[in-house]
């Protein structure tokens, strides 16, 4: 199939790359552009490990085609922390919120979006917001605790 060149803003820089119509954003980010924080966990939008921000909104990069981001902006964990750890990351670190760490990049992205939309969510809102991000290790409560801690200190 024909390749097409797309151009988009990735973590603050303009990038151009050739993609096939069926290439998923996740594979293009990981394999062509070397952005490795989004992870493959299911390829079906069920786990959230591949989450990135598309024009500020979280998307599952395993579900959208790379051609769809032509002319848009993508931010991954690499871009979020360009100026050092965010308060959220510091809190996750302090609370030892992750074990294997595989869900961490997606979780950070998801909660970052939440806190931008709603700076003071309550516990149930946090749980609801991250309920599409699966974590097999932590039992979630250390993640929720870390988010509550950031909100408290805001």
């Amino acid at each position: 199939m024909e390749s097409k060149e797309i151009k988009f803003k990735l973590n603050g820089k303009i990038v151009r790359t050739e993609v096939k119509p069926y290439d998923k954003l996740l594979e293009v980010l990981r394999d062509k552009l070397g952005v490795k924080s989004p992870k493959y966990g299911c390829g079906r939008g069920e786990c959230g490990a591949c989450s990135v921000l598309l024009d500020g909104k979280t998307v599952r990069s395993c579900l959208i085609y790379a051609v769809e981001v032509d002319g848009h902006e993508i931010v991954s964990l690499e871009g979020l922390q360009a100026n050092g750890l965010t308060e959220l990351q510091k809190s996750f670190l302090k609370h030892n919120s992750f074990q294997c760490g595989f869900c961490a990049p997606g979780m950070v992205i998801q909660v970052t979006e939440l806190l931008r939309e709603n700076p003071h969510p309550d516990e149930e809102e946090i749980r609801e917001y991250i309920s599409g991000n699966l974590c097999r290790c932590t039992g979630y409560n250390p993640i929720v605790d870390a988010v509550l801690d950031v909100i408290k200190n805001k």
């Binding site: 966990g41 760490g101 097999r136």
Partner: protein, 780 residues
Amino acid sequence: MKTFDLKYVGHDAVRIDGLEKITGSAKYVDDIDLGPATLYASILRSPYAHANIKKIDTSKAEAVEGVYAVVTGKDFPYRYGLYLKDNYVFPLDRVRYYGQHVAAVIAVTQEIADEAAKLIEIEYEPLPVLQNPLDSIKEDAPLIHPDLGNYEVVPWLYPQPGTNIAHVRKIRKGNVEEAFKEADFILEDWYLVPHVVHAPIETHVSAALYTPDGRLTMWNSSQSPHTQRNIIAHSFNLKHKDVRVIAPYVGGGFGGKAGVNMEVVAAACAMKVPGHPVKIRYTRKEEFYDTSMRQELHAFIKIGVKKDGTIVALKHQLYWDVGASAEYGSNVVNATGFSAIGPYRIPNVWIDSFAIYTNRPPCGAYRGFGYSEFHFGIESHMDRVAKAIGMDPVEFRKKNAIQEGDTVAYGVKMGPTGIKQCIEEVAKAIEWGTPSEQPKEPNKVRAKGFAAVWKAPAMPANESSAAFIKFNEDGSINILVSGMELGQGFLTAMAKIAAEELSLPLEKIRVELPDTDRNPYEWQTVASHVTWSCGNAVRRAAIDAKEQILNTISEAYYIEKTNLYLEDGKVKSYTKPDFEIPFEKFVIDGVQMEDGTFRGGPILGKGMFMPEFTSAKVNPETGQGGHPNVHYTTGAGAVEIEIDTETGRIKVLKMAEAFDAGKAINPDIVKQQITGGFVQGLGTALYEEVKFSEDGRILNPNFTDYKLPTALDVPREMHPIIVEVPQPDGPFGARGIAEHTMIPVMPAVANAVENALGIRIKNPPITSEKIIKALLESKK
């Protein structure tokens, strides 16, 4: 002499892998780029659960432009296995489960490989499909492994040629028949625990490069780099020194990445295309079909008690569905056979634990190693028996709880245990004895449920761990071990053990992930044993390094060794308060003497640990005479649930779990193991079950149809509790607790359901559907 309080061990700290993980810098196998020579593999899978392979024609696939090679069974006609060599690299003449890998195409792009794989022509002759172990053991059942008698096996497993039984572990202690006659009350029943999957969020990934000089390098998402090197070297006739397994971070293992499975496929592919790395990342669907899953258990339990609550006898027959291969799962069957009495003092015991083949995917290690499955029945039974004789279930457990000095089922004395404290702490935290406050809605009922558990690490008698500690110029150290960081906090625990012995701040310590070329031996990161076993090795390596440090300083400064000690990265002296030499002054370059010569040199500690009291040699008919387990970790758990009787939905409101960690190296991480393991157990209690069609296909190989707990499903109130009765041979008294944390959950929930509604569910998961059906049934 100065006495020291523990400075690092037993105190909370930020995980040493925290920063890497929170910044996305942590590398997992799929994050490693292997360069432009990398090729891609597409795997062709069996459309039958059981069939003879009559013919494979790969010529059309081979002719496709961009295809480098096609691999089938005839290329590597080897069997492999950890305990029983019954698994094939690629099947030769028979497929034994749906989705089994039959051939692989290696091509320059994934698309070409996928397209070419469709051109492989295979002729199958379908065979009868067995999906229930109770059918597999019938006299006239077709044989899944007709050659079982010729398979290589470790001496302590007993395959039964001419049947579908891969192993049977028997325990005979006392005389159960006589004891049942004297019992005041006897209860017998069956329980069924279905297959579940590990579901680590990272699927299996393996990359391999074989070079023409005969060197095989692999990057595996693995709990067992040395065991993989061993099996792969044997399977492919390579020298161990030429096989290198590098294991970066693992995105969850839970036993699924123990031993070897799809890594042999990657190795086989790489060996067909020398000079080209081949990377295989399983899709989620492949992860369900072709890695390993938890065994299904059909258990018959008969318990006899006296009126006063004393357990007099147990008969426990465990029929395990190990799937199409028992290469690893046979040891789950073996280990549980020895321990299927639960944490109780029982004088008369009869256990038969059978590993039975079916045409389901191969099963193997899964967090808990069979103990979750058999505790479901045992702990359901304990509640039922206690209630039948009018005793409180918690009192009943306390009365029968095994104590130090009691004999376990295979005749060995029980070691130190905090089981009673665990039961008491959990009872306190869940407010056992105080009835649940009932909600106002008439359709909601609340109740509590309890369970007690134990588990021993299941290992060969000579499992071992080794460690090196290398000092650097600035006085920092790198610890080389081959235990794996699976998320359980292994790296942090090892760093703390070394920090304590060397009195070296954690910031000065790195612990390196396994690379079999560089890091010393570790059997596997399984069985919740690395804190104990590798921890001992690291501690010994640190003591070895400390000895070298003290020798150097003693010799160079003419101070008696016994007058020297280490503190905060310096050598100090009891007798000379001003004396202090920081490590960085000498750990590489040595100490310069007045005449200009030097003493000392690079400090390099080494340590090894192997338990020398264990033995797998037992009488096969009775299970007596050996010492198969190193120790038991005990614990207890309880839940408070709310059931909606209109929808059947169960919400767990509150949980408490306590485990005897001996000594928690990092209490914070231990508590998080408890909450995390509880939630994994909660999945198996409420939702998780692999469903099969009649022809052996998996009906729910994805996270929409196979539900994992989410942040909304977990109890808002969790009480993880640490009990510390030291393990005499553990580092600082520590023993493992990681797997144990999911064991109490299924029975505790089932017991709570009975306490709420008076219905007894004997086959988890306890879904809404089962609750509603049972309620309708009970109203009839």
